[in-house]
Symmetry: C2
Subunit: 335 residues, 2 copies
């Protein structure tokens, strides 16, 4: 491997001059700068980022701690992150935790060892020791879709309560008064619970009484959506619409409905949540609350960069808006 020393010897000048020339420092003679650039090109010189990082104490690397990269949700957020990181000269180290809290902590340690300049954390719950582990890493951390703000950790998220209500309101405006709900796990304080709260709030705002019989708990998988929807069909009177707390479950619901010969949207409207790639692929295409996945990633990264470069943060928590994507699963317009 060819180093600055090689360039310096080649040109009979000092290594430090080479460094300054390559880094566009002032006080370098234009001709010197040019000779250095030429030699670097000719010798196919590649700076050793490791050495530079060691000397400057900045690695230009950020760590991304994520539950499951094979999940469309995370994958798309990741793309948002990688994009703005790269645009700002940062590389990203990918850490897939598979929701294992021990692995999370190990990864945090690893990233600290690797001297990352910052970390984006989007994985698992936040028990005390995970929070402690995050704190013990001395670099900036920002969280996505987690209740980090409570611990003083900058966070970007959506308002699950409001967004769930948005979906339910849409159904209400379509004339539905009996709306079933397939919830996520109700011990999930981040998205399971607030989406239920939003559902209730929207009903209550519309003066529709809440009926626990048409709320069924799922676990965010398609299969659980099938089961939950099947139970929903036994309720009397039967709902005319169903809102599922994510797309997978909504699609599961559609499968259950198909099995029972119930036509969507004619006999039953369905709306989902997330707007992953699955939503546009099913027939009828799913009307759903679109999370701004890319923006969650890019915004978080922008926040992180501000922190890493010592600029302040306006707010410790930024809440992004979702958008209802109307397709065909509720009738009305759309593809």
């Amino acid at each position: 491997m060819i180093t600055m020393k090689d360039i310096a010897m080649e040109l009979g000048i000092n290594e430090s001059t080479v460094s300054r020339a390559l880094n566009n420092h002032p006080h370098v003679h234009p001709s010197t700068r040019e000779r250095v650039a030429e030699a670097a090109r000719r010798l196919n010189y590649r700076p050793n980022t490791l050495a530079r990082s060691l000397a400057t104490n900045r690695s230009y690397v950020v760590g991304l701690v994520i539950s499951n990269i094979a999940n469309l949700f995370f994958a798309e957020v990741t793309q948002g992150i990688e994009q703005v990181a790269d645009a700002n000269g940062y590389s990203v180290i990918l850490c897939d935790t598979a929701r294992d809290a021990a692995k999370e902590r190990r990864y945090l340690d690893l990233l600290a060892s690797r001297q990352v300049d910052g970390i984006i954390f989007m994985s698992g719950r936040l028990p005390a020791d995970t929070v402690a582990a995050i704190r013990s890493v001395k670099c900036p951390v920002v969280m996505i879709s987690r209740d980090g703000a409570r611990y003083g950790i900058p966070t970007v998220r959506i308002n699950n309560r409001v967004e769930a209500a948005r979906a339910v309101n849409y159904l209400i405006n379509l004339g539905h008064a009996r709306i079933g709900f397939i919830s996520g796990q109700l011990d999930d304080a981040e998205s399971g619970l607030p989406r239920l709260a939003g559902y209730k709030a929207a009903l209550s705002d519309a003066g529709i009484p809440f009926d626990p019989c048409i709320v069924q708990e799922g676990d965010f998988t398609m299969e659980s959506g099938v089961r939950a929807c099947t139970r929903l069909l036994d309720a009397v009177p039967r709902p005319t619409a169903v809102f599922a707390a994510n797309d997978e479950m909504a699609i599961g619901a559609m499968k259950a409905l198909a099995q029972h010969g119930i036509s969507v949207p004619k006999d039953m409207a369905v709306v989902g949540f997330d707007n992953t790639a699955l939503a546009r692929v099913v027939t009828p295409a799913l009307t759903t609350v679109a999370q701004p996945l890319r923006s969650l990633g890019s915004t978080a990264t922008e926040m992180l960069i501000r922190m890493m470069t010592g600029q302040g943060l306006k707010d410790i928590e930024v809440v992004l808006d979702c958008q209802l994507v109307v397709r065909s699963s509720c009738g009305g317009t759309g593809i």
Copy 2:
């Protein structure tokens, strides 16, 4: 930040002894080793990987160059990669090229600068200058689903020709004799062309004449599948089955069929290729050729590790088998 020097001073011993103790070198007194370990724990010491890498000339980082992480196909391969990399002490830097050849080359340079120990490349075509860029990076490279072997670059892939034939054979065995094909781009030598070749080969083996009228070119998107299938329906006699070169297009085909009131699988069988998450989600669930996505990733990483650690490679190219996942889109058994 606390360093080995701190531990050394704390214990009144030399830095090098600390290093040896921490790295489990022989010839370190057990008691010393214990004292060092204790001090490290107490002071919350974290090794500086950068410095270590600089000294040892091994970074334990691999670069992953990929077209589009938000695509399920790549995301799942990535998971396979990250998993075995992590299990072997390697971190992975994610580089999403968005299929931009210039970006690819920039990323390769970047990774070289970052002193990665190896690179997994799964992005774009292989024009001469990309190959040159790959060669100029002095570390081991392995490719996934590309024709790297031709350039002497270790590769793991599937046999698209054989696997496409597998799908067509399945349809033939089901009794179909008029099978439409929705191809990918025919200028794509990696998967577009060979899948068409496999389609032809299977027909020919079964003594079914090839009819270009029932081959329609798409571009691997769902929309192109809709269009291609629509064209297919005009053919006389109309096909009784359609094989699409990937799941997205197969799903597009199903949409087109639904629009025309043609029932799947009763009036038309459909089979796809890839087995991404989309396949199990549509109704009826899609029968498709399952690429061993995780294995593509893990196998490639294992090969890379062998190369990075100076162990030889048995073969420069390893070809993984796919599996036909039978669901409901062709009738028969399945979910």
